[in-house]
Symmetry: none
Subunit: 245 residues, 2 copies
């Protein structure tokens, strides 16, 4: 009985048994690492069993668990195919569902990015901060050369999103950003706008650097308001908003 005694942490209820649970984790990890997409097939059970050093029975249990969770569909004679119903991705799928009207896109962007700026201020690593600074420099160079700074703008927002270290919010932003692109180009085409936008970025960056979440959120909100006033935010009670599936 080499039980407990470690004394490092206060009495953890031992490790955890349940082989299939560990296999589920490894399989999910493998799916992400290998970049498998919906429709792709997992390796055959026999191969998984030999590679992971377990029996086919245990692999089978893990596949049952994944199937119950709606991550894969196991088809007799064909294999285990990925389907895209993981909860996080269902959220994202709703973004993809319909072509959205610009005002709604801007609202969603505000909701997500303001929160991400706050989180970024609280969680950013030095690497995150370096990426943000690099994006600022890149945008400044673009403007110096007479450009409008779209590339730097996109990099900046991507860097802030990454610094927020929230996988779900980041995934949602990743789906939203293509829709944002059109408003970005339109906004930066206005005279004097690139410089204003860059100044806004700098304020956000400084708030993130100082770790002040509220200030970062405020700065991001002000920036987004400035950027999106090209499209007049107007809402008409009589016009039904596109509802979901």
């Amino acid at each position: 009985m080499s039980r407990e005694r470690r004394a490092s942490k206060p009495l953890r209820p031992i490790a955890r048994p349940r082989l299939y649970e560990q296999l589920v984790e490894q399989l999910v990890e493998h799916i992400e690492d290998a970049g498998l997409s919906p429709g792709d097939r997992l390796p055959p059970e026999r191969e998984l069993a030999s590679q992971l050093g377990v029996s086919r029975v245990s692999i089978g249990q893990a596949l049952v668990a994944l199937e119950v969770q709606g991550i894969i569909d196991v088809r007799h004679g064909e294999g285990a195919v990925l389907l895209e119903t993981r909860p996080e991705q269902q959220v994202i799928a709703s973004l993809r569902a319909h072509q959205r009207r610009l005002p709604e896109i801007i609202e969603a962007r505000e909701a997500l990015e303001v929160k991400l700026a706050e989180l970024a201020a609280q969680r950013r690593t030095d690497e995150d901060m370096a990426a943000i600074d690099e994006a600022l420099a890149f945008m400044a160079a673009e403007i110096d050369e007479g450009g409008r700074g779209e590339g730097g703008d996109e990099r900046f927002h991507a860097a802030v999103t990454a610094a927020g270290h929230s996988g779900l919010l980041a995934d949602m932003m990743k789906e939203l950003s293509p829709l944002i692109l059109e408003s970005r180009i339109e906004s930066l085409a206005q005279p004097g706008r690139p410089k204003d936008s860059l100044a806004g970025h700098r304020r956000i960056a400084e708030a993130i650097r100082s770790g002040d979440g509220d200030a970062a959120a405020t700065a991001m909100l002000a920036h987004l308001r400035l950027v999106s006033d090209v499209a007049v935010l107007r809402w008409d009670p009589d016009e039904p908003e596109a509802s979901a599936t």
Copy 2:
């Protein structure tokens, strides 16, 4: 090939493969028929296998499926014990499946609902306001009767979301809300929490009524902070590392 049609009933969608799925159904049926309650144990695997005429492996797969769905907890050396069935089955299932990402779900919820509260204050119609008030009254009644007010809580947040009149944000919330349900139940189980939550709702409602977007956003943020801090801290006393900051 004994795949004949029989022509007895019009086109049944083939038979149903997947033995473990049928076993799950039979087991659930047995649980209900036998009137088993939380804490009771299922018959031993060997007995189930012989009674149902299948192998222990198949029984094992069925038990894995039930465990993933949060209906039973299979304990080594002890047996398969029922845990809280009822409508919360699904909730527990998804909570177990995504417990690692619960903090991220809470972050996403904050991002969306704070923005929605702000929009609701700006756009709410009288009908929206009536729905919000009705949700408040419903929750108050639930609490008066000794309940925890989950129903009213859900109605309230749904009403605020609707009052935001942003289709995209509403769709995102619709996908997120099943995941939120988990933390809702956890939170409202805290002593005194339902009343605190209701008070928070009233503050949000008043801000929306007065059309003050900033106040609504602030009130919603404070409310969500209150509600979710419990959800993260108090997950499963048996698993100390579950809080995963």
